[in-house]
């Protein structure tokens, strides 16, 4: 009895987790002209069409740019920040931790609106710059958190040992700390990349004429054209995310860090 219940719960969970994904794959593989499930016949024409839509190509490049460089920028700030929070007793470090986590907790809509109203408009940022800063800020909490947990497991006396062997503090960091938190940094990068790439609410506020991230572009596309290419594109993006996480898991046991 309990066994049956377990299977039912497991089945339902998987259905809700994977079901939409399967629907999207097949909805995109439709031979028909409009988005529907079950699809009207099977074909790969919509998957092919995705690559011919110019706005998708542009917004994909922008999303890629934001995901890669926004995350790199977040790591550039986040790794030293995590290091300082872990190694030194700073006044108000709890407050700093809370502030750093804020972009995760505060709803994206509010972050987007706030950034738009108080940063982008008064400072006259270009759309790309605004998006870059926003994505960096959104990814920063993940960078700090994931790198922190790596640093936490790294004993401080290892750096002292390096210093006594002749390292400067900076060399101790690059030669001993960094190689040992490499996995955490990579995990933070992947998590940040995926977070940034899939970001909607903040990007929604900050996107401008002709400059959109891919998810926003897909929204806009759907408002005008209700064909299965959006489903096809969604499926492709989901596969891309899966491939990245899968590769990361195989390479360095990604799930240990998240």
């Amino acid at each position: 009895m309990a066994r049956t219940t377990n299977w039912v719960v497991l089945g339902l969970t998987l259905t809700f987790l994977i079901g939409p994904f399967i629907i999207i794959i097949f909805a995109g593989a439709s031979a028909g002209e409009s988005l529907a499930f079950p699809p009207a016949g099977l074909s790969l024409k919509w998957y092919a069409k995705v690559f011919t839509v110019e706005s998708f190509r542009q917004s994909f490049m922008l999303s890629m740019f934001l995901a890669v460089f926004g995350t790199l920028a977040a790591l550039l700030i986040g790794v030293p920040a995590a290091y300082a929070l872990n190694r030194y007793k700073l006044p108000g470090d709890e407050t700093i931790r809370t502030i750093v986590a804020a972009p995760i907790i505060v709803p994206g809509i509010i972050v987007g609106l706030a950034l738009l109203r108080y940063l982008v408009v008064p400072l006259d940022f270009t759309v790309t710059m605004a998006l870059f800063f926003a994505h960096t800020a959104l990814v920063l909490p993940y960078a700090v958190r994931v790198v922190s947990s790596s640093l936490h497991n790294l004993r401080a006396d290892m750096e002292e040992a390096a210093v006594l062997l002749g390292c400067s503090r900076l060399q101790a960091f690059t030669k001993v700390v960094l190689p040992n938190i490499r996995g955490g940094v990579l995990a933070a990068f992947i998590l940040g990349f995926v977070t940034s790439f899939n970001q909607v609410p903040v990007s929604l506020f900050l996107s401008g004429p002709g400059v959109r991230t891919l998810p926003i572009d897909m929204l806009a596309y759907m408002e005008i054209t209700y064909d299965p290419s959006v489903a096809a594109l969604s499926a492709l993006l989901a596969f891309m995310s899966l491939a990245i996480v899968f590769a990361a898991e195989r390479l360095l046991g990604f799930s240990r860090y998240v």
Binding site: M158, A161, L164, K175
Partner: protein, 337 residues
């Protein structure tokens, strides 16, 4: 002392507002093996960290080999430290761990290779070059940490609780190893320990510390046989310590006549110094346990509980029985307060 190789003078060490070591003076000769001994919080580790340069003194002076290094950064002092946790670099092989410091010195590759191999050989780790620290046993990790420090040819080698993480057999092995290394290289060694038996077995001189001050300084023989204070006596295994009042021993629970005249505030006996089976006093056996070459008793006496070790030849006195005992002058140790 003019021949001091390491000289700490008026050294005050603090963490923020907390003074861990007030005003310490200590001279160490070249090639000496010194133990900083004491319970946790006595300032022994703090003192070691100050010698290494990991802690800047609040005041005072550290001179090593004729050079004032008080303000010299840790990475330029030429001092080795074997950490209690070994602090090996987990991402590097055994070879690269040992070569780490040599590479920073930018020595030619040939020299790095030769020195590293010699270093690994010295500690019996030849053939383990490619292993990562995690693939080595605890004892091997420690010897790797030792080799990593030794190849740098440090002026002073510091060791933090070098034997505490090892089991009994390895401990003996490592002790012999450390003595051999010290003899072969002639390096001045300072090690920190809370275990008096380690200090007694290994050190040329022992610095017994309490509350950041030197309680007593001497050779193992001196400290073992002639502790000067109650604290030192307690640390050296004089477990029966009483106050003296004229011709009487006094404790919180009662008094006992002393069979001789003692002109000191406190007096102490080791368990082995208490005579069991004969003597003017009597006590009830509370506990008795077999310890191989002797038997350990706990006696209930007017002074409270007394620990007494009896030779194995004396027939066992069962718990609950009353036995006579003596606190002879010959095995007593007069103490300052």
């Amino acid at each position: 002392m003019s021949d001091a190789f390491v000289s700490l003078s008026d050294l005050t060490l603090s963490y923020g507002q907390t003074v861990a070591v007030p005003d310490l003076d200590l001279d160490i000769a070249e090639g000496e093996l010194i133990a900083l001994l004491g319970p946790s919080g006595c300032g022994k580790t703090t003192t070691m960290r100050a010698i290494a340069g990991l802690l800047t003194p609040t005041s005072g002076k550290i001179v090593i080999d004729g050079r004032d290094v008080t303000r010299t950064p840790a990475n330029q002092r030429g001092i080795g430290l074997v950490f209690q946790s070994y602090a090996l670099f987990p991402h590097l092989s055994a070879f690269e761990n040992v070569a780490f410091g040599l590479r920073l010195k930018k020595l030619p590759e040939r020299e790095i290779r030769a020195k590293t191999e010699a270093g690994l050989d010295t500690v019996g780790l030849a053939g383990f070059e490619k292993r990562k620290p995690a693939e080595l046993s605890g004892g091997q990790q420690q010897r790797l940490a030792l080799a990593r420090s030794l190849v740098m040819e440090p002026k002073v080698l510091l060791l933090d609780e070098p034997l505490s993480n090892l089991d009994a057999r390895l401990r003996l092995e490592m002790r012999t190893e450390l003595q051999r290394v010290q003899k072969d290289t002639g390096v001045t060694m300072v090690f920190v320990t809370h275990d008096q038996s380690e200090a007694l077995a290994l050190a040329d001189r022992i610095v017994l510390m309490k509350d950041g001050r030197i309680e007593q300084l001497g050779t193992p023989d001196e400290l073992y046989a002639r502790p000067a204070t109650v604290f030192a006596a307690d640390f050296m295994g004089f477990e029966n310590i009483f106050s003296v009042n004229g011709m009487e021993l006094v404790s919180e629970t009662g008094r006992l006549p002393l069979g001789f005249e003692a002109d000191c505030p406190k007096i102490a006996w080791r368990p082995a110094g208490v005579t069991v089976g004969e003597g003017p006093h009597s006590g009830k056996v509370v506990a008795s346990s077999f310890a191989g070459d002797h038997r350990e008793y706990v006696l209930e006496t007017p002074l409270g509980q007394i620990k007494a070790d009896a030779p194995i030849e004396i027939a066992e006195v069962p718990a609950g029985a009353v036995v006579s005992f003596d606190l002879p002058q010959s095995t007593s140790r007069a103490l300052a307060a």
